[in-house]
Symmetry: C2
Subunit: 122 residues, 2 copies
DNA sequence: TTCGGATATATCGAAACTGGATATATTCTT
DNA sequence: AAGAATATATCCAGTTTCGATATATCCGAA
């Protein structure tokens, strides 16, 4: 299990939402699945992050009532909050991807000059 | 100017020290030079980090008195604290490089599936 | 000889972040 | 009927971040 820093979490969540709208629980499952269990974003990481994205206008949100078949019509039912990447969110993601690649490239310069670089391939 | 997270700072500093012993100020200059000014590690980022590396046994340290030619023999002179990567530090670095590459690889999986991935090449 | 810039190490503190634990409620499966 | 899975959300103690600040020496130019 590899832990994700917020920076990476944000990049991953934005990338997931770039494919299409989703909601917290589904995103967390998606991340676990698409990383073959290596990445995990827990509720305490996920919801503050999504709230922040919403506050910054990177996503728009809407509630869906998830009623069971034949459920009490008066019951509140389970609520599902959908997140949709906004225009601003798409632009932000593009910027972040570029930044990420730049950092990556320079970082590789340092790492590849360390003698340990060879050993770490196994 | 790209900001470095502590995780990356640590990787970079360890990589620099893997080449040979150095001291705080030189390391920060080294990082700026080898990243063509893109990475910068300020004193407030550097020294707590080096202290932490020392506390964790990843580096060993020693003081050097930097006397000027013909300086007052009684003056304390400028002190320079050298940091040398320990065995433990070398192993830690190898581990970190491997971890870094793993995270990198999975992260790329997410990013490359986002439509913005194409746009971010300019 | 004196002044400023570069060298050199180090702490402070407010703000942000981290992540396990916890809370609450519904729906599905056996 | 019980328990696992679905689903959202906050709490909080500990850590990280990073600009600002402190201190002192060395070097070159005017």
């Amino acid at each position: 299990m590899l832990t994700l820093k917020q920076d990476h979490s944000q990049l991953v969540v934005l990338s997931v939402l770039a494919v299409g709208p989703s909601y917290g629980y589904a995103i967390s499952k998606d991340i676990a699945a698409r990383s073959e269990g290596h990445f995990k974003l827990s509720p305490s990481g996920m919801y503050p992050l999504l709230t922040k994205l919403e506050k910054n206008g990177l996503v728009t949100t809407g509630w869906e009532e998830v009623k069971a078949a034949g459920a009490d019509p008066d019951s509140t039912g389970r609520r599902r909050k959908w997140y949709t990447l906004s225009d601003k969110g798409h632009k932000q993601l593009a910027k972040r991807i570029e930044h990420h690649r730049q950092v990556q490239s320079i970082l590789d310069g340092f790492v590849s000059q360390a003698p340990e670089s060879e050993l770490a391939n196994g």
